[in-house]
Amino acid sequence: MIVELGHFALVLALGVALAQAVLPLVGAWRGWRGWMAVAEPAAVVQLMLVAVAFGALTWAFVTSDFSLRLVVLNSHTDKPMLYKISGVWGNHEGSLLLWVLILALFGACAALFGSQLPQSLRARVLGVQGLIGVAFMSFLLFTSNPFLRLVTPPFNGEDLNPLLQDPGLAFHPPFLYLGYVGMSMAFSFAVAALLEGRIDAAWARWVRPWTLAAWIFLTIGIALGSWWAYYELGWGGFWFWDPVENASFMPWLFGAALLHSAIVVEKRESLKAWTILLAILAFGFSLIGTFIVRSGVITSVHSFASDPERGVFILIILGLFMGGALLLFGLRASAMEAKGIFAMVSRESALVANNLLLAVASFVVFVGTVWPLVAELLWDRKLSVGAPFFNAAFSPFMIGLALLLPLGAMLPWKRAQAGRVMRQLLPVAALAFAVAALVYAMQTGRSALVPVGAGLGLWVVAGALLDLWTRTGRGAFAARLARLTRLPRADWGRASAHAGLGVTIFAVAAMNGWATEIIKVVQVGESFDLHGYQVKLAEVHEEEGPNYLSTSATMEVTRNGKAVATLHPEKRVYPVQAMPTTEAALDYGLFRDIYLVIGDPQESGGWAVRAYWKPFANWLWIGAGLMALGGLMSLSDRRYRVAAGARRAQAVAAE
């Protein structure tokens, strides 16, 4: 019964979305206020209906209702409660329902908090948002209905893919979707602005928070996924340039570009057409990401749905939205007249360079991702594009970006003297060079990877700190220190996000250049050396978990006789899915992780053991965390809260 209610609510939500799409758009076009006013209540009702549908599906998973096809395919009574719930979105149909729920959530937020927007703009934004809802709810109901019943329900389910039964992965998809779908707000604002034929600083002030929020969620989602891969897949890799990873990375890069170009629109009323185009492309790449994942055209470890019918449907959605938006852009973009005047050397130009590098880097990722498809279609060549290509073709743009960043961030608006900023940055550059040289001298190998990464990382981090410090102006040290705490949060956000990028760059280089790996057969009781640590395989035993069987080892890590950690790497078999997984055991540290994996028993006795020393692994997540934190601080900046404050003031006056 509850399931049928959910199903019905979803069908109703589609109807509401249809109304939300058509009435406000027509109303805004003809200037009919009554029709425009439909947008807000429709968005709120749509959210409530989709929430009911999502709640019903969650209920079916929690109570293990095996009359539901989806629950049978993805759940099991023995599964822990956390994974019963995460099982709701650990599959194609459920994850799309989550997609639609988040879409409705963003729409309702825009309806509730958007009272400061001009009515026609708000009606158009919500109308476009409604159109996206119609497209995805039709997709859901017609090709991937999560509420299908079975005639003869089985006694138990087929369990969730054990690789997905993990806390890191339980929350990875919701964050990614919050990011993907968040880009839809930027898209809706862009299309609405094109329909209005007007774009100004106020528009940018509205678009930027939505983009920031989406970008923060994407950052967290990508970091969670990367962290999961790091500890779960068993060899400590954190990024594989897998098509599905690329699918989340492209919107992230475009989102980062959009964040920066929106600043130019907001502060200088320039770069308007480009910002609109970026907003359209950022969402377009989110859709392409969905297409890549859902259609299975580019096979990958992550695609749990490979169905041509669904692929074609998403391709049609993509074609309609991108085609429509880009056509509108072609017709109307020339009306977006730029106002600001600035010199070649100025922060505006630096932000253009930032956008160019981010967009081209994203383009490289895109071409590399679809190239196997293109080559097979056009030349019948079956080939692969993998990590070595991306490392070679993508990294130079990131290096260029990191080199320019501290300089660009400190250039003043309008007209700048590059020489002055460079003189300020000279100590930072000298420090970065010194550190790079020091690292090169200290390391044993001849690889330039880590020295370059360390120098570049330091350049970006120290540059960000210097940037923050120069914001405090001139005067006595104490006075400047006091001023530091009173700087706008956007300044702190900028410094944090930029420093986060620097930390990440260094961590990536250190992980790739310095990690030590040992693979060997170890007898029970035997010890081996791992980068200054001694690891002893104390014992191995079999164990039974809630829904798996496990071979669990006890390994003692010591350093010069002093105990460091006792770790329990496991090898698990999930009988229902007949799938083995490795559960690496990690001793996390600020400067290194010790990463142990137990393998198979050997015929000659003993066990295959893999042990890694991973330097600065946690700096990756710290870097990503700093970037997300920076976004959050920027989001909470006063100028975005002013609208809310003004509303409160109005309310008070009205009383």
Binding site: S303, F342, K382
Partner: protein, 148 residues
Amino acid sequence: MRKALILLAFLASPAFAVQPDEMLPDPALEARARAISQLLRCPVCQGENIDDSNATISRDLRLLVRERLVAGDSDDAVVDYIVDRYGEFVLFEPRASGANWLLWLAGPGMLILGGGAAALWLRGRRQAPAPAALTPEEEARLREILKE
């Protein structure tokens, strides 16, 4: 526990990535083998290199790589040897030949194009667009105002 053992026996656990028994005694040669393995794609997996893959064929390929290295082949010769037999599909870094030039030049080409467009646009932004010339009516009106 017996149930567990029977199950484990049935689920012949796959060989897990590089195994200790595959590795070469010579560390330099082994390091080269590992580097080469990371360039080669497991033919039956989804986007894994043979170094990380658990599939049997990846194990065979890893052993083949090491066999060729021990026989004295250079790194490139080993890769060629494998590509000749398994096709360019196993190569994770497409060779810059034929149409693949497009792939390799996509980034630099786009940078030059985009950079050129951006530079042109930036040059234009240095001055405000000249205000449109006055229409004859406006000029007439201006003269009137000035006369007054």
